[in-house]
Symmetry: C2
Subunit: 427 residues, 2 copies
């Protein structure tokens, strides 16, 4: 029997009873003959409580000390999970990110894992212990400082451990039953996906499905770690994120890989339009240089074809709403230099994305998608595509209709509505 890596998030560790339930799940896997390594997040609202404390003493706390503070959260939860396991008659050893050998770069608050050296973990496994690791944290390679991976980073910790330990599977426990064809709060007939490819999951995560941390999926793909997303509140099979979905289907089904994995939506973006940019070489570059200097991540970019009569063009792009103010300031600063006419800001938009690896070989997906939107009376503002994704920007109020119409048009609706909670807290 090989190594099973599990991840439990804060909502699965909300209180003593929740921790005891998690401990029983962990022990069950150990009893089944597996070695178990568990990455845990901070309990329930601990991280928010710590942020409140920080804001109480300083409006702008240094990032190094913020990481030192926040990492206390996982330290508490991992020790409690280890205690609960011990209370069930098994032995557990908890390790901080640093002790577990999670080596990162030195960017406080959003460090990237660059290596995992799990010597202490493998030793503890060899001694028969269940291993609990603090998620979300590591230690920088050069300065030996404590770092954090950013919100949701415990998913990444788990997959990185699974890769380093050559685990059979990385189980991500959450408060929903798996990955769905759409958000069931919007589409009650959404179906749980039994399997989804890394590529599709990456697009889903990037397009607003909050179920898995983007870097976690990237890590899983790079090292070929099967990720099993499932609920900590039931024993149901969840969704397997794998490289080749068809290969894991139950034999009797011999199912083909479906064309469409799902419909994702995102209400966290805003749109900025730079109106009347002189249609000369270098002008667009100057605009995006200014935005890059302001550390702003852009999503979709559209440049309208220049009207020959005016030799002026409009450039639109989307970005996280939280970066909106910074972007507007950065652009206003270069108005004279670039010579554009004005800036338009719109945060009443939503993005709807259709994602499926089958798009590659099935023409006609785009026209079917746009036809469904038209029938639902949804106006398309911007369009962007990748090999396995089509995204459109629509009015914020049209998002639900757009998702539902698309879901139905691609025959994704389940025959029966499953009782699911998607993105909620607890069940």
């Amino acid at each position: 029997m090989g190594i099973v890596v599990q991840k439990y998030g804060g909502s699965s560790l909300a209180d003593a009873d929740a921790i005891k339930r998690v401990a029983r799940r962990i022990v069950d896997i150990k009893k089944a003959g597996h070695d178990v390594v568990v990455a845990v997040s901070a309990m329930g609202d601990t991280t928010d409580d710590l942020l409140d404390l920080a804001n109480g003493v300083s409006p702008l706390p240094p990032a190094r000390e913020m990481d030192m503070l926040l990492t206390a959260g996982e330290r508490i939860s991992m020790a409690l999970v280890a205690m609960a396991i011990s209370d069930l008659g098994f032995t557990a050893r908890s390790f901080t990110g640093s002790q577990a050998g999670v080596i990162t770069d030195s960017v406080h608050g959003k460090a990237k894992i660059i290596d995992v050296t799990p010597g202490r973990i493998t030793q503890a496994i060899g001694e028969g212990h269940i291993v609990i690791v603090a998620g979300f944290q590591g230690v920088s390679a050069d300065t030996k400082e404590i770092t954090t991976l950013g919100r949701g980073g415990t998913d990444t910790t788990a997959v990185a451990l699974a890769a380093a330990l050559e685990a059979d599977v990385c189980e991500i426990y959450t408060d929903v039953d798996g990955v769905f064809t759409a958000d069931p709060r919007i589409v009650p007939s959404a179906r749980k996906l039994d399997q989804v490819s890394y590529e599709e999951m990456l697009e889903l995560a990037a397009c607003g499905a909050k179920i898995l941390h983007l870097r976690c999926v990237e890590y899983g793909r790079r090292y070929g770690i099967p990720i099993h997303v499932r609920s900590s509140f039931s024993q149901l099979e969840g969704t397997w994120v794998v490289s080749d979905p068809g290969s894991r289907a139950p034999e009797e089904e011999t199912m083909e890989q479906p064309i469409i994995a799902g419909v994702a939506h995102d209400r966290s973006e805003a749109k900025i339009t730079v109106v009347g940019v002189p249609d000369k070489v270098g002008e667009a570059a100057r605009i995006f240089e200014a935005l890059a200097d302001a550390q702003i991540n852009l999503d979709m970019i559209v440049q309208n074809i220049s009207a020959a009569a005016t030799s002026l063009t409009d450039i639109s792009f989307t970005l996280p709403r939280t970066d909106g103010q910074n972007a507007m300031t950065a652009l206003a600063r270069i108005q004279a230099e670039v010579g554009y006419d004005k800036l338009l800001y719109d945060d009443k938009i939503g993005k709807v994305s259709l994602i499926g690896a089958g798009m590659r070989s099935h023409p006609g997906i785009t026209s079917k998608f746009f036809g469904a939107l038209a029938s639902a009376g949804v106006n398309i503002g911007m369009i962007s595509t990748s090999e396995i994704r089509i995204s459109v920007i629509v009015d914020e109020n049209a998002v639900d209709d757009a998702v539902r119409a698309t879901h139905t048009a691609f025959d994704l609706d389940a025959d029966e509505v499953e009782a699911v909670v998607y993105g909620g807290t607890g069940r």
Copy 2:
């Protein structure tokens, strides 16, 4: 200007305002040209809250995981203090016990410091930073496990750092103005001591004065670190714990070292009497062997002279009340073997101790002490002495009278009553 080491306890770090006030004190020292290294305890009730969490998941949590859990408390407070300092325009670096090089043995829950390797601290000082260190914790030399030093251990962390860094002084900030000649809650006329010797402070701490951790004083004595016990709520000079009290007196006073440092009391002990022990070689040894096997620390021991007629003797000893049940069980188990008659248990006792280095050269202290107790109508149950201490066990209800009578008899009363709070929380 040299290095100043400071220690702030939980009551000095109770909330955001308290942390900001501590940060201002620290920055003041830095502004005065000193390098500052600060050991901090967990905020206010954090440790109790963490203990409650542990008890919620397991009635008997493993000591290793308990240490992992509790050390989160100082991690939180040190990061917050560093943030508050940063908010005042100075830079601070916080370090865990492990990062600070606090090397201990591997006894979880009550580890002893065996070395301090403060490489990262001296580097941070060299870079101009104020250094904040998590008190109460370290890392074991052999197993690299996180350990804690036991309650009050942050005092010891501070003095150990002061020794390793060859600091000029170790300032222990607390919620009282210093060390007093007696507990001012019992003796309102008690005086603050300007200075006290390590030996006297050790006896005071061992005899119930809770103001300094015993191991902290031992450490200070061994390395000759002057310890300044003072209030974090005022700018008053506190009490200096030094090797040669006279030498630090203001020059104009040229005071002689006082004969008596103070009167301490302790209501945490119980007395057990083993009645009718056969007066043979080896019987007493068997009794104390059984108690040692049960990990019980004894304080005073008295063996009554055997009455020749019966050749039986009574053995009495005192011990922490919390060990009472264990001790009675251990002794009951050897009754047949030893052949004693019965056990008596009394936890309605108190210990009153008179402490002063001057006792060595001043005969008559004992008779004066006992005379004062007799005049106050206090009956003496047991007596024990060291070179600089006389302790008596009295009835629990007689402790206050005994302390007051002794304090007056040795002319320790102040002319005026100072407004002090002793052992309270906050002021």
